[in-house]
């Protein structure tokens, strides 16, 4: 199938039909959600790691 290309951000990209564009946007949305979940897990992991490594000493300080 031959398609017409278009300039997109300085790069030559094949043009998409409306259906393909819808799929593209749906995939981009799913990737964004996956990245958000990964970053959240990363932050929670660091928090838990800090608590576990410091242990009871975390609360053993002068007020």
């Amino acid at each position: 199938m031959t398609m017409v290309a278009q300039q997109d951000g300085g790069k030559l990209q094949p043009a998409m039909t409306p259906e393909q564009e819808a799929i593209y946007k749906a995939r981009r949305r799913r990737r964004s959600i996956a990245l958000a979940i990964a970053l959240t897990v990363f932050a929670v992991t660091f928090y838990v790691l800090t608590i576990v490594k410091m242990g009871p000493a975390l609360f053993d300080r002068a007020l």
Binding site: V4, Q7, E21, R31, A34, L49
Partner: protein
Amino acid sequence: MERPVTYIDDSSSIPAMAGGARVEDYLTLLKPRVMSLVVFTALVGMLVAPGGINPILGLIAIVCIAIGAGASGALNMWYDADIDAIMSRTRNRPIPAGRVTPEESLVFGVVLAVFSVVLLGLATNWVAGAFLAFTIFFYAVIYTMWLKRATPQNIVIGGAAGAFPPMVGWAAVTGTLSWESFALFLIIFLWTPPHFWALALYKQGDYGAAGIPMMPNVAGEASTNRQIVAYSVLLALSSLLPVALGFSSWIYGIVATLTGLGFVYLAVRLWRQPAGTEMRRAARALFTFSLSYLFVLFLGLLTDHIALQMGVL
């Protein structure tokens, strides 16, 4: 400026371009099947190591080792995209299929590698962190970029990368490397050549077309079969090292003996087959058995260790 662009028509997909990948494509880059074996062997290495580790830190360590293995896979797929496109087994991987660009795979692999090493170092100790970094380097650079296309010994030396995970798991608990952890390394190291050569024997055409010097293509089938028998015997003997070194008992000893004998039997049967369809069938049988062999062996080691811990033995 407009000009025609041709690509494979598939109404359910979009043109191969940056940003068109599915989440599943990124997961494929991590080589989940390889990762599952890495995770399991690392987990066993961690559980049979003397001493203990906080369960949460242990869980984080396993996740780090899994992500490190995944990073190696992504870097491997980035570098090997050209030969992956030639082989039937690999041509549908995300990069040769055009769903992920090489640059995306490279960045994905590097970010995950750095993340996994730093987090493992912080969660456990820097011996484990450094060893994980070395493992990723060994797989991505020593094996993928250098040995794989250069020598028929590629899988022998490169197999070390897949054998390191139980040592990383051991180091995560103890902070050191010991002869016991080396025994676990040796088992996987000696398992790798017969496993991959059995695969190469019935996928010879693929490897030959891609220009990868696998042993059957370079040394011939007869020589490969002899070497498979030699490595299988060494593997069966080395699988008894945990008993000899005293960190497992008769339960594991029985499992190692039976599975080792099975491995050697299938290797000898392959060696005795004349070239042709029967030989390829025997190679496939050995390859299939080798997949479950390592799992069963390490499961036996884990069961044995749990029985010892519970005072059953």
